[in-house]
Amino acid sequence: MSEAALLSEPAPSAAVSAEAFEDLYRRAFPRVYAYVATLLRDRSAAEEVTAQAFERAYRKRRTFKPGRGSPEAWLFGIARNAALDELRRSKRRAALEAEPEDAAAPAADDQAEQAVRRQTVRSALMALEPHERDLVALKFSGGLSNAEIARVIDASESNAGTRLHRVIEKLRKACDVDA
């Protein structure tokens, strides 16, 4: 049975729905957190909003309609609303929190080169407008398809794809120029 079907299945299979939701949580939690953290640029707020998003989604899981998009799109829609509400409340405009993990230490030359590249990308991301950052966060943090992004931002798939393409091209150009 598909996840969408499991989520939409009403009681008495509530346990199945809860189980399906837990599967969705395990698969999407890191991505939801990454997306929210990228949007808010505040780890503490991102944790609160992520928990809030999953709580809301769990409470609303019976309202999910498979015909209106994937469970991920639905979940990211809820997370996005929660994040935007938080942004509106706090008016946060902090810098991106993304801190690269250096678990595997590369060679010295590679490390320097990577640091430059990383700084370039980071600067390019910082220069993005909030709505552009929202798009790339949905794509790269959330790992959503263009169709799912379209569903989340309430636009057509082609429109979402076009806007995303423009933002990536903008980033690419910024990185090339800076490089």
Partner: protein, 363 residues
């Protein structure tokens, strides 16, 4: 961990901050517990529950597009229910207006369903209209009221049953000690019948009940006119005229002068004319109040001559009820549909505004 060597990989790496391990562990525990409410979780952890309590959640729900639309719809429905509850009963109004309305086309169509009960039920259910005050006063305090009553009845029967129904009208009149003042019966292409009956006032309701059972009642009305004041006035005048006559006769008996005797005779003649006129008025009033005037019109129709209980009547009643319910539903829909459209538009507008307001932080 492989080194990111492409722009996209680097971008993805930059945009995927990992959650704090403690937070991830807390979330995993929460998920394993079946996502209990966070207030409960806070209580278990000894923390104060979130300020977003039930009141806050209710306020948020009311402010949501759905909440706004639901609240608006609920208010509209309450208003509609209130209007329906306080509006005067249309059926009662129709019944009131049909009484005394004669046998006109509209009157027949409106009053027939209310009178279809037929038989004794119909007779008992219809009461005479309150007697209106006659011109010149109502003679308060008079216990023996003089009421002039009249009733109109329109019966529908198949053409081939006209004669039979007409015979039974006469028989019914006789049975109630009444009489037929005038009658007219036509058969053929356009059959019709009219009967002017006089029924003793005390027998009126029973007679009407029996007449109503003879055929399909198309229309029926009763009316009453209080003529007590007029009756008292005429009888008083009659007594005065009689007293005057007695006085004139006494004076005539003692008169010796021819001229005086002639004048008294002339006055007695005038008094006699007055007395005759007053006696005629009293007789007329007594006849009008002792006997009710009943007008029965017989028209062609497919009614059940057997009175109440016919299948056709039952079907008519059912249809009437159905139409009544349908009319009520139409009235309700006439209000609810516009309210629903406005509510839906408001919901859509509120949803769009809320989304734009929420996304405004991105622009």
């Amino acid at each position: 961990m492989s080194t990111p060597d492409t722009f996209t990989e680097l971008l993805r790496e930059e945009l995927t901050p990992a959650p704090d391990p403690d937070f991830a562990a807390e979330m995993d525990d929460w998920a394993a517990a079946g996502f209990p409410h966070r207030d409960d979780r806070d209580r278990e952890a000894g923390r104060r529950p979130s300020t977003a309590g039930w009141l806050d959640r209710a306020t948020r729900a009311l402010r949501s597009p759905f909440g706004t639309a639901a609240t608006g719809t609920a208010v509209a429905v309450a208003i509609v229910a209130l209007l329906i509850a306080v509006s005067p009963d249309q059926a009662t109004q129709d019944q009131g207006s049909s009484a005394g309305g004669g046998g006109g086309g509209g009157g027949v169509a409106e009053s027939a369903p209310q009178l279809r009960g037929g038989g004794s039920d119909a007779g008992d259910s219809v009461t005479a209209s309150p007697a209106p005050a006659p011109a010149g006063g109502i003679a308060p305090g008079q216990r023996d009221r003089k009421i002039e009553r009249a009733a109109q009845l329109t019966l529908g029967a198949p053409a081939d049953e006209f004669q039979s129904v007409a015979d039974r009208i006469v028989q019914t009149t006789d049975r109630h000690n009444g009489f037929v003042l005038r009658s007219q019966l036509s058969t053929g292409d356009s059959p019709s019948g009219d009967f002017q009956l006089r029924i003793p006032a005390g027998e009126l309701q029973a007679a009407l009940r029996d007449l109503s059972a003879l055929a399909d009642v198309r229309a029926r009305s009763d009316s009453g006119q209080d003529v007590t004041r007029e009756y008292l006035s005429v009888t008083d005048s009659l007594q005065a005229a009689r007293a005057e006559r007695r006085a004139l006769l006494r004076r005539l008996a003692t008169a010796v002068d021819d001229g005086r005797m002639q004048r008294l005779r002339d006055r007695l003649d005038a008094n006699a004319r007055e007395l005759n006129g007053l006696r005629a008025q009293v007789r007329d009033l007594r006849e009008r109040t002792n006997y009710a005037s009943v007008s029965v019109s017989l028209v062609e129709g497919n009614g059940d001559s057997g009175g109440a209980g016919g299948t056709s009547k039952a079907l008519d009643d059912s249809l009437g009820l159905l139409l009544g319910s349908f009319n009520w539903l139409l009235r309700a829909l006439g209000v609810l549909i516009p309210v629903g459209v406005v509510g839906g538009a408001a919901w859509a507008a509120a949803r769009t505004i809320r989304r734009r307001r929420r996304e405004a932080v991105l622009f």
